[in-house]
């Protein structure tokens, strides 16, 4: 995930879980391990930053109800 791309928490967590799974596997390649380890720490940092943004935003939708116009006369 490049730096300028919008941080997506859901995919970050998914990636973290994937890294976690990877580390639990057998035969870990050292170079790949270092890369994954770094990426994991980076994601953890970003996720924690996102979790610090705690306040909720509240927006009320302004809406219009449109009145139906029906002109036909009922004929019994």
């Amino acid at each position: 995930m490049p730096q300028d791309e919008k941080f997506d928490f859901t995919s970050a967590i998914a990636e973290l879980e994937e890294i976690n799974r990877w580390f639990q596997g057998e035969d870990i390649d050292i170079d790949e391990g270092i890369a994954k380890f770094r990426r994991g720490l980076e994601l953890i940092k970003k996720c924690k930053e996102r979790l610090k943004k705690a306040e909720n935003e509240f927006v009320e939708i302004k809406k219009e109800f449109e009145t139906e116009e029906r002109t036909e006369e009922p004929e019994e």
Partner: protein, 520 residues
């Protein structure tokens, strides 16, 4: 109906007319909120009108006069009035009456009497058994279909609508805009019937349910401003940086269906980036929860592209909306927890992942280090072994070469010896050969000497003999030799011819003579 609400309805109607004429959305003319405030304050002059929020100078200039006129028209009396001298046409008069009747919206409860269905409308009587009163009603069939209520004689109903004079027929009727069932028993039956119908149509099928993202951030909240559900939901949502877009709807009563359907539709049409819609209200009777058991709301939830989470009523309340919803929350609080729990738990998850990868990574690093050391040891051992084995091989090779050399040398010596041995024999052979040659030579020399003596002797004898036979000697003895003219010695007289000249040689000199006579 109060004067305020009558004024509001009138302002709304006129506003909508203006909007239609200008072909713009009603709220672009004036928002309902502004109309409500105008109806409440009922300003009489432009200055007062200007104080109302939402009435900017532009709007004031455009609509100010029209608003004040509308207020005035209603201020003189609550109803439209005309001078006694005014003469209406029939149509004009009915329009005039309907203008007065239309704002009189009301909800009427009664029992269904005779029902007649026509192309576009269904006509029915609403009866009051106690007072023996009858209200003629009609409803557009498309609206009736939306309510999911089957009109049957004897059914207790609540209808919402307004009175109306039917222009072409001249009778009074009630135009029904909404229908609600009354009574637990009926509602339960209706609930079961709708549940069965929607279930058969696949509305509750798990495979049709949309998944909600694990970490929701943008939430569309559909409930009433006044509902406890809203407070409950927001309280239990916690603070995790949610963006909540709140759409105020009625959650009870005949008109709430339209509100909720519009709200779901609005989010789907205007705010698709909202990740989830939360439809919630607090507990209540089956009747008060009726809107959540309506087919219209069920269909709106079913066709929403944004996933819907419900949180309706108490723990045990089951509504059609709950069954159709993509995720069912039993209460407003539960709905909030569904959205917030993942955020609440994610810290633990992140910490666990952190610990896990750090520990695994460091364990692995140690492992690598150990493996590296082991590998080094192994390499050294292997190298040493390899060097040793090479050394051994070189030694072997040296030994081999030496032995080969020794063998070669021995063979050379042997050959030399053999040669030397043979050389004596060859020498002997040569020596005896030389002896033989010299013997031969000697015998040859001896023989040749003999032969020379012999040949000399023979030659001497030959000479002697030859001397004896020399013709000149004979001539000295007196013999002569006769030749013919051609020098041939004549040995017989027959070789002579008469008259031929012959030459007679003597030991000294010769003489020529002529043959005269021949004797044989």
């Amino acid at each position: 109906m109060t004067k305020q609400s009558a004024l509001y309805e009138l302002l709304r109607k006129k506003r909508n007319e203006l909007a239609r004429q200008a072909d713009i959305k009603p709220f672009m003319v004036l928002q309902n909120k502004v109309l409500q405030e105008i109806a409440e304050k009922q300003p009489t002059v432009l200055e007062e009108l200007a104080e109302i929020k939402g009435m900017g100078p532009k709007r004031l200039a455009k609509y100010g006069k029209f608003i004040l006129e509308t207020i005035n028209s209603l201020s003189s009396t609550t109803m439209p009035t005309v001078s006694e001298e005014k003469v209406f046409s029939v149509g004009e008069f009915i329009d005039f009456l309907n203008q007065i009747l239309a704002p009189q919206r009301a909800i009427v409860q009664g029992e269904v009497g005779e029902v007649k269905s026509r192309d576009n409308f269904t006509f029915f009587k609403l009866l009051d058994k106690k007072e023996e009163a009858i209200l003629s009603c009609f409803v557009w069939n498309d609206r009736l279909a939306r309510f999911g209520v089957e009109l049957k004689e004897g059914l207790e109903l609540k209808v919402g609508g307004y009175p109306k004079l039917v222009k072409t027929k001249g009778y009074f009727s009630f135009e029904v805009e909404h229908i609600g069932l009354v009574g637990e028993g009926v509602l339960k039956l209706a609930f079961e019937a709708l549940k069965k119908k929607l279930s058969a149509a696949g509305f509750f099928a798990p495979e049709r349910k949309k998944k909600i993202p694990p970490f929701v951030e943008k939430v569309g909240l559909i409930t009433s401003t006044f509902a406890d559900a809203k407070t409950d939901f927001l309280t239990h949502l916690g603070k995790f940086g949610f963006k909540i877009f709140f759409y105020d709807v009625r959650v009870e009563g005949l008109y709430s269906t339209d509100d909720i359907v519009s709200a779901i539709r609005w989010f789907n049409e205007n705010m698709l980036d909202v990740e989830i819609l939360v439809l919630t209200r607090g507990g209540g009777s089956l009747e008060s929860l009726q809107v959540f058991n309506s087919e219209a709301v069920a269909k709106a939830i079913f066709s929403s592209r944004i996933p819907v989470v419900t949180g309706i009523g108490h723990e045990n309340d089951e509504t059609i909306a709950d069954l159709v919803a993509d995720v069912y929350g039993s209460t407003p609080t539960h709905a909030a927890r569904i959205l917030s729990d993942p955020w609440r738990n994610v810290n633990t998850l992140i910490t666990n992942v952190y610990r896990n990868i750090v520990s695994i990574f460091s364990t692995n690093c140690l492992g690598f280090q150990k493996r590296l050391l082991d590998t080094r040891e192994n390499l050294i051992t292997l190298l040493a072994r390899s060097i040793k084995s090479r050394n051994q091989r070189i030694d072997d090779l040296q030994t081999f070469l030496y032995s080969q050399f020794q063998r070669l040398l021995y063979r050379v010596k042997q050959t030399q010896m053999e040669f030397l041995n043979n050389w004596g024999r060859i020498k002997n052979i040569l020596f005896s050969l030389r002896n033989k040659i010299s013997i031969q030579e000697k015998s040859l020399t001896d023989e040749s000497l003999y032969w020379i003596k012999f040949i000399r002797k023979s030659l001497f004898e030959f000479e002697q003999k030859l001397r004896l036979s020399d013709p000149s000697a004979r001539l000295k003895q007196g013999y002569s030799i006769v030749f013919n003219a051609s020098g041939k010695i004549i040995k017989r007289s027959t070789d002579l011819t008469l008259g031929e000249y012959v030459k007679a040689k003597f030991s000294q000199g010769s003489a020529t003579s002529r043959v005269e006579e021949i004797q044989q």
